[in-house]
């Protein structure tokens, strides 16, 4: 089995390290021995999405140098994987050698659920959680990486968990990175509706596969509906009873 190198997104590193911890627990339970490069910081997505490409190039090169010798890189965030796989080559197109290195790294970078279902061929990761769950489709997973079945299959296979339908599951949660800070009123209206759909579903937990989406939705829940729970997919999959 190839060595698994973990790419833990900056938002998870700083604010939600439990996502990283859950990822470690989960992979170890599956008999894998993941490594983590201490030098990693951020893939550069915030700089890219706000148009600061020169800064993003520096982040990209840093990332590539750290990860390019790994065999498989997995990340509990589809948006970061999208950045590495799809945005890096374009970002570095003026330096063909770097662009080539970027494509090589991108080819072996996977989002967590994608890795588990498509590469490992596993749906049942030995998790159990008593309760019902709904799943929010993060935009980058769904539309840029084509990931939708995989998280659902994984949640479905969790012992004692019932996966319920979520109304407008594929509508954005209103995070959009800088959007949530630049346009707080609109962002609030969007996340409020996502949360309302969650509440109306009567599910016990809302599962998200993006740290950014989770920060957004959970931040709103804690302020307005602290009794309702949201968690990252990795947390659910590492959960045992």
């Amino acid at each position: 089995m190839k060595t698994i190198s973990m790419f833990i997104p900056c938002l998870a590193d700083l604010f939600l390290p439990r996502i990283g911890e859950a990822t470690v627990t989960l992979l170890r339970r599956l008999g894998l021995d993941p490594i983590y490069h201490d030098a990693q910081t951020c893939c550069g997505q915030p700089a890219i999405s706000s148009g600061h490409m020169d800064s993003a190039v520096k982040a990209a090169k840093h990332f590539i140098q750290i990860f390019e010798h790994d065999e498989i890189i997995i990340c509990p965030s589809g948006s970061c994987v999208h950045t590495v796989k799809h945005q890096y080559p374009d970002l570095l197109k003026k330096e063909p050698e770097w662009a080539h290195r970027a494509r090589r790294v991108g080819a072996k970078t996977y989002e967590l659920s994608q890795f588990l279902v498509d590469i490992l061929g596993t749906k049942d990761v030995g998790a159990s959680f008593s309760g019902s769950a709904v799943y929010h489709e993060s935009c980058k997973n769904l539309r840029r990486l084509g990931i939708s079945d995989q998280p659902r299959k994984l949640i479905d296979a969790v012992k004692n968990t019932e996966l319920l339908p979520l109304k407008e599951a594929d509508v954005c949660c209103g995070f959009g990175g800088e959007f949530s800070i630049r346009f707080p009123d609109i962002s609030e209206a969007i996340v409020a509706q996502k949360v309302q759909h969650f509440i109306n579903s009567e599910a016990d937990i809302l599962v998200l596969s993006e740290p950014g989406c989770l920060l957004n939705v959970d931040g709103y829940l804690q302020r307005h509906h602290p009794e309702k729970k949201a968690m990252h997919l990795a947390e659910l999959l590492s959960h045992t009873e």
Partner: protein
């Protein structure tokens, strides 16, 4: 038309409080895409149908000068008169003069976004010529002096009480009513009189077919057919990008347009004009004028990224599916075009300076580009505008936001490539996010923290970041 693109945020804030509009915006997002999908399913292969329409539009934009020339040549051969208007002023002057020369006192108008873009109605009114919008939604917004709420349903958000009121005041309706059918009937009666006696009809153009010199209009109400059949003079206004090569392409686009717009296989009326009426025909225009409006488009045509915006066929699907538009409606976008297609086109026509909010107010979710029949990648284009904007701005400037931006990424850059700085930054900021007084101060100071915590709890840097946790986890197997 008045430009209010710089008021995006304040208008959005106001519109978010409009409960009635919010109901209809939810209907747009929850029902229209379903209707659209159902209608698209009548294609043997809906995905291929979208690919084909995107390919047609890409080809049109790539060959725009040539196709426009061909259209003009053939339209003239059919007996139409074609005028290429460089800008709004030229277009308005031309049309106003036509009306004046023919002693026209009023015109009836079909829904046309380009005529809003150039402010044609105002130019006509300033010259003593009344312009009657005859599409029901446009008729209502005109009477209320409001901008359009949505491309396809410009007055959907207007409460029936208001419509009843204004119809009584300005459209000759005698008794109040809250019934949409009765209101429609009142509008029919009022406008019918105008159609009967009108001497000049002004329409937009959905498609201009180069090969045959034909203009095509798509509608449900019949007001465009009226405006093309009753008067002696017809003026049809189009922007450059409405051209299409041949009838086969036009038919495909019309099929996709109708399904995308209203979930119909075909709208009630599709009328195709090739020149004015023939000599012995009793109705139809004696003169057909086609005005092709530039208004800034050739300026960005040479930029292959920017000209992608010209692929739009004005179907409104991107509006219906946009999480942002379906919260704030059309008004905040501040001009003739709203939703993702407006966010992509308006900055190109009005400049990046005045339209900053338009290309930042996007979560980059990508729902729009997935359904666009024109094959436009809206998020990519908005991203491109953001990049350009960082390059226009001087690197060193003393405006507050620019200073923040400069430090934000100049500093961020250093921290990202030097892990030790990253960790130092974390240590230094940690208490700011955890310590009660620091948090309270941050929440009060204008800035990202205040905006975030308006509706969410403060994101706190963990007592131990993952970096720090790994030191323990690594050995604990």
């Amino acid at each position: 038309m008045e430009i209010n693109t710089h008021r995006f945020t304040e208008t959005a804030k106001k519109e978010l409080k409009n409960e009635y509009s919010r109901v209809f915006l939810d209907i747009f997002r929850q029902h229209f895409p379903v209707l659209r999908k159902k209608a698209m399913a009548s294609f043997p292969n809906p995905d291929k149908a979208l690919e084909k329409s995107a390919a047609i539009r890409a080809d049109v934009v790539a060959r725009l000068p040539e196709l426009l020339n061909q259209f003009e040549k053939n339209a003239i051969r059919n007996g139409a008169k074609v005028f290429r208007a460089k800008d709004a002023k030229a277009a308005n002057e031309f049309i106003v003069n036509l009306a004046k020369q023919r002693g026209v006192t009023y015109v009836t108008k079909g829904k046309s976004m380009v005529t809003e873009e150039i402010g044609l109605n105002q130019a006509l009114e300033e010259n003593g010529i009344k312009a009657f919008e005859s599409d029901l939604g446009e008729f209502i917004t005109q009477l209320l002096d409001r901008p359009p709420f949505h491309i396809v349903g410009p007055a959907m958000n207007i409460p029936v009480e208001e419509i009843s009121d204004i119809f009584q005041k300005k459209a000759g309706m005698k008794d109040p009513t809250l019934d949409p059918v009765e209101l429609g009937q009142a509008a029919r009666v009022y406008l019918r009189n105008k159609f009967h006696h009108v001497e000049m009809g002004i329409t937009g153009v959905n498609m201009a077919v180069a090969e045959t010199g034909t203009i095509i209009n798509v509608e449900n109400e019949g007001n465009i057919r009226m405006s093309k059949s009753s008067p002696k003079t017809q003026v049809s206004v189009m922007t450059l990008e409405k051209v299409v090569e041949n009838m086969a392409d036009a038919l495909h686009l019309v099929r996709v347009l109708c399904r995308s717009c209203t979930g119909q296989k075909l709208s009630a009326y599709v009328s195709m004009d090739s020149g004015p009426k023939k000599e012995n025909e009793i109705d139809g225009p004696e003169e057909l004028f086609i005005v092709i409006v530039d208004n800034g488009r050739w300026n960005f045509y040479d930029d292959s990224q920017s000209r992608e915006a010209l692929k739009c066929i004005r179907c409104g699907t991107c509006l219906n599916i946009c999480p942002v538009y379906t919260k704030v409606g059309g008004y905040p976008y501040g001009w003739a075009y709203s939703g993702p297609m407006g966010q992509v086109l308006t900055p190109l026509l009005l400049g990046l300076d005045r339209t900053k909010d338009l290309y930042h107010a996007c979560t980059q979710c990508g729902a729009c580009s997935e359904v666009c029949p024109g094959g436009i990648d809206h998020p990519k284009m908005l991203h491109e505008f953001r990049i350009r904007q960082t390059r226009i701005r001087p690197r060193i400037s003393f405006k507050k936001n620019d200073i923040i931006d400069f430090f934000e990424f100049a500093l961020w850059e250093k921290m990202v490539v030097h892990p030790s700085l990253w960790k130092l930054g974390v240590t230094m900021s940690r208490s700011a996010t955890r310590q009660k007084n620091a948090v309270r101060m941050l929440k009060k100071t204008n800035g990202p923290v205040k905006n975030w915590t308006q509706s969410r709890t403060m994101p706190q840097i963990a007592r131990k970041t993952f970096h720090e946790r790994w030191n323990e986890l690594r050995d604990k197997k």
